[in-house]
Subunit: 108 residues, 2 copies
């Protein structure tokens, strides 16, 4: 009954972006390196999940974690090249949303 198998690379990319918070997190980091607390307060993610996601994205080479030896030590998260390469996707989502998401459906 089935036909055209879906490309596994595409599936992988979709499953990455379908993880709750991941897209918003990357979007947030597009505006520059940020600390744990800043990210947490800019999107509504819980600390537990943010920590999980950051580890995950770091492991996938999308996010980079830097310990900055100031006093006090500062920990900064930023996008890698691979992370930044997702920008066109996010821009398309942004364009789409401007055109197709109406005021009436904004109360989640």
């Amino acid at each position: 009954m089935n036909q055209s198998i879906i490309c596994p690379r595409f599936e992988k990319a979709v499953s990455l972006l379908s993880q709750r918070w991941t897209t918003l997190l990357i979007y947030q980091l597009l505006s520059g390196p940020q600390r744990f607390g800043t990210i947490q307060s800019s999107i509504a993610i819980s600390g537990r999940v943010l920590s999980e996601r950051l580890k995950d994205l770091e492991q996938q080479g999308i996010v980079k974690r830097d310990v900055i030896p100031e006093t006090p030590v500062r920990i900064e998260y930023s996008l890698t090249e691979k992370g930044f390469s997702l920008e066109p996707i996010l821009k398309e989502i942004e364009n789409w949303s401007q055109e197709w998401v109406k005021k009436e459906e904004l109360d989640d």
Copy 2:
């Protein structure tokens, strides 16, 4: 501590596409109208969730449900104009995946 508030339309679009299976489901319908069973066997979604997603997407004006009066009656799901308008996003994801998803990371 927070700054730049994220556009609510963008957030809405992201939350739509971050629902598990939604992107793959839309992708599948890009190739034309399909029946419940066909969709179910082309992506690995369970009947319970597929039914839920279709109702949801129908309500958001992305998917259309048609009862085709053949014998036996056939029920077809297809994309609306709004649904098709998501294609550029999916194409961007596809492009990205070809460039950035490596063989090594394909075993989910």
